[in-house]
Every structure is written in structure tokens, then in C-alpha cells.
């Protein structure tokens, strides 16, 4: 047998396709699927939210709360709790197990987590001078629960979380990963939802105190202190305070709510002996 050297032309082992072209096609396909899903999920949110049972919401809430608890050092205050539960008692019957968490962070915000947990930041409490004003903020958050805005606000990620929790169960890593992606600060409510929650809060305030004095305290204090610049981010998700004040005042006139003197905050929040590290 004789060996004849022979050159092999071309390369059968490497495809001739251009990598750039392949890249563009694949990225385009992926983006297309992503955009379609994004739009479809957005449409699904409004369909699904009214159908989520409170039990299921509690399940989601416990997932989300475990994440939240790790991210913030939270604390509870007995006095605030009492005030909160007084308000809850005026609510129509629901399966929610409401609870209040006070975060030490100096952020002017409060929000509603699925499952009935209201989170208030110390920064917001500092801005309010009266018990009535504080109750109004709590009642506002409770209003979001009643209207189920907190589920809508979570938007598309909620749908994914609902699907994952249904299929894989709550303690599955995938469900937890999806809940991780639900960033609380990115929860947005529409201005209509905010106004509806304001009006709900007003009615709750009337039930609690027999009058609605102090309802606008929080907004007025923000305006007076010229703090608007500083808390711009807060108002980016909420209607501007002046609009809210006038909407609240209009409602007070229409429903003929009584206005009375407010209970100053100092007398309610003397230092809590059980949690001495927190000053409210």
C-alpha cells in the first residue's frame, strides 16, 4: 500500500453560517417571545387579580414577607399595633390576617404586602404629628387591600409567581426566585387607585373617630416643610399632595363628614417599654 499525501480542501466540521447572522436571529427571536409574553401578561393581570383567593394571597404574602424581612430590619410597636387593629375592626369581613410592621428605615413611604401586611417606615411616621393623620395613612393602605390594588401593583411578576406557586408549591426555589424579583419599591399604583384608597381611608377614619379631622395632615406637613423635592420619588407613584388634599376636602363636603380636633401623636406614642430601642 502506497501512501499518497492529499490535501483536504474546505472544512466539513465547521458550518458555514455567519455567527453574527445567527446571533441576530436568535436574539431577535428571544426578544420577540419576551415582548409577546410581556404584553400578554400585562393583559392577564386584570383578569386574574379578582380571582385570587385570600388564602392564596396569604401564601404569596408569606413568601414575599420572608424576603422583605431579610432586607429590612423591622420592628413592631405595641401602640401602633393597637391603633392599627382598631382600624381593622371597622373593615368588612375578609380572610386577611392583617398585621403592621414598622421598618426602622428613614424612608417616607408605606405599602401593602399580599396577605394583609402593612409596612410603614419610620421616616413617614416622623412626618406625621397626629394620631388621626397616622390612622389615615394606615387606612389608606388597608384601602389598597380592600380594592386588591396591592396584587395589581405587583403586575406581571405576580402572574409568574402565581403560576410557579401553583405548579411547584411555595417553598420551591423557583417560586422563591420569582418572588425575589418582585421589588416592593417598584410596585406602582395608578393615581385612580390612590384616590380610591384615599376615599376609603376617609370613611374608615370617620368610623374610627366619628370625624375626619387630621386626614390631610400628612400631605400638609409635607407641603409645609418644603419636603417635596426630597420626597420626589414618593410622589412619582402617588398623585401630588395638593390634588389629594383638594380631592379629600371635596369628599368631606359631599359626605358631610364632621371635622374635629385631632389627638396629638406624643400622647399616644410615649416610649414603648417593650421595645426601648425604637423612638417613635
Amino acid at each position: 500500500m502506497k501512501f499518497t499525501p492529499k490535501r483536504i480542501e474546505g472544512n466539513v466540521n465547521v458550518s458555514k453560517t455567519s455567527p453574527i447572522k445567527e446571533f441576530v436571529i436568535l436574539i431577535g427571536g428571544l426578544l420577540g417571545i419576551g415582548i409577546t409574553l410581556f404584553i400578554a401578561l400585562g393583559l392577564l393581570v386584570d383578569l386574574i387579580v379578582p380571582r385570587i383567593s385570600v388564602d392564596f394571597e396569604n401564601k404569596l404574602g408569606s413568601l414575599l414577607y420572608s424576603k422583605f424581612e431579610n432586607a429590612h430590619r423591622t420592628t413592631e410597636s405595641k401602640k401602633l399595633d393597637t391603633l392599627f387593629h382598631q382600624l381593622v375592626n371597622h373593615l368588612p369581613d375578609t380572610k386577611h390576617s392583617f398585621s403592621l410592621t414598622v421598618s426602622k428605615k428613614d424612608v417616607v413611604n408605606a405599602f401593602a404586602l399580599p396577605g394583609g401586611r402593612v409596612v410603614m417606615y419610620k421616616g413617614l411616621i416622623d412626618k406625621i404629628d397626629s394620631e388621626n393623620g397616622l390612622s389615615f395613612v394606615m387606612a389608606h393602605e388597608l384601602g389598597h387591600f380592600m380594592h386588591r390594588d396591592h396584587l395589581r401593583g405587583m403586575g406581571r411578576a405576580l402572574i409568574l409567581a402565581v403560576i410557579a406557586t401553583t405548579i411547584f408549591g411555595g417553598d420551591n426555589p423557583l417560586s422563591q426566585l420569582l418572588m425575589e424579583s418582585l421589588t416592593i419599591s417598584e410596585m406602582t399604583f395608578s393615581q385612580d387607585q390612590e384616590s380610591a384608597a384615599d376615599l376609603f381611608a376617609l370613611s374608615l377614619l370617620a368610623k374610627q373617630y366619628g370625624h375626619v379631622g387630621g386626614a390631610t395632615d400628612f400631605f400638609i406637613s409635607l407641603k409645609e416643610k418644603g419636603a417635596l423635592q426630597k420626597f420626589k420619588y414618593f410622589f412619582s407613584t402617588h398623585p401630588n399632595p395638593e390634588a389629594r388634599i383638594s380631592a379629600i376636602e371635596k369628599e368631606i363636603k359631599e359626605k358631610a363628614y364632621a371635622l374635629d380636633t385631632v389627638i396629638p401623636l406624643e400622647s399616644v406614642f410615649v416610649k414603648d417599654s417593650t421595645t426601648p430601642s425604637i423612638e417613635l
Binding site: R7, P19, I20, E22, L26
Partner: protein, 151 residues
């Protein structure tokens, strides 16, 4: 936003650096393949060769490790979603195999032919490849170099 810019820069850098390296490598491979054209490397066993003709036999081997670039990594990851031929890896493996054979041939000094040639592939850094690091591929070629008695 910054993350996206960094990602795009990495992909672009990966593409240009990887493309350049691949072009250079193929040029060098082709040149050396030409030089070794007269040293056959075959897969049949040395038993096919009459033993009385063989003056010496030695184990020869060559191995090459080629790393994947960022562009190829992303491209392959996209392929993982949709399926199909992973073209991005083909040239990588082709280069590794041919380089390994060339190195094996360089080791076989004074040999007349290499028999019983085998080529194997292994991936390196598999555990490190989980998140944001790059993996490499190793190809190893080995065989028996024979030199024949002068006729």
C-alpha cells in the same frame, strides 16, 4: 443600564478578539498541516504493519486547550434555548482537534507514520462554568509513531 452596556461591550470584545484569534489560528494550522503532509496519521493498528519492517515505535501525543470567548458563550446559550446546531462551538472543537494532531505530529520526530491514532475531547473548568466564567475545551490526540528500517 450599566450592566447592559458592559454586557454589550463584553460581547463585542469577545467577538472581535475571538474572531481575530480564530483567523490567526486557522492560518497557522493550515500552514503546519502543509508541512506535515508527508507524515500520515492513521487510525488502524500497528498490527497491520509487518513487524520486521519496524525499527522503532514510540507513543506520541499532543493536546491543545482552546477557550471559548464571550460572544460564542452567549451564542451557544441562545442556541440552548432554541436548539439546533451549535455552530459557535464547532470551530472551537475543530481547532482544538487539529492543533492536537499537529502537536502530536511534531512530537513524532523521525517517524515515518503514526498509527492507531485516537482523538479525545474533554471540557475544562466545568464547575467554574456555572455562572459568569468561561469554559475551555481540551482535545488530546495520541498514537504510536513508527519508523521503518531503511530498505
Amino acid at each position: 443600564m450599566t450592566n447592559i452596556i458592559i454586557l454589550i461591550l463584553l460581547i463585542a470584545l469577545g467577538y472581535y478578539a475571538g474572531h481575530h484569534a480564530e483567523k490567526k489560528h486557522y492560518q497557522s494550522i493550515k500552514k503546519r498541516e502543509e508541512e506535515f503532509l508527508n507524515l500520515p496519521a492513521v487510525t488502524f493498528s500497528e498490527k497491520m504493519t509487518p513487524i520486521e519492517n519496524v525499527a522503532s515505535s514510540t507513543l506520541v501525543y499532543g493536546s491543545a486547550v482552546i477557550s471559548i470567548d464571550y460572544f460564542k458563550r452567549i451564542l451557544a446559550a441562545l442556541r440552548n434555548i432554541f436548539g439546533g446546531e451549535v455552530g459557535a462551538y464547532e470551530s472551537l472543537l475543530d481547532r482544538a482537534r487539529r492543533e492536537a494532531v499537529l502537536r502530536m505530529k511534531s512530537m513524532a520526530t523521525n517517524a515515518n507514520c503514526i498509527v492507531n491514532v485516537r482523538i479525545e475531547t474533554a471540557s475544562i473548568g466545568k464547575s467554574a462554568n456555572r455562572k459568569n466564567s468561561l469554559g475551555s475545551v481540551e482535545a488530546i490526540a495520541y498514537g504510536t509513531a513508527l519508523s521503518f528500517k531503511e530498505a
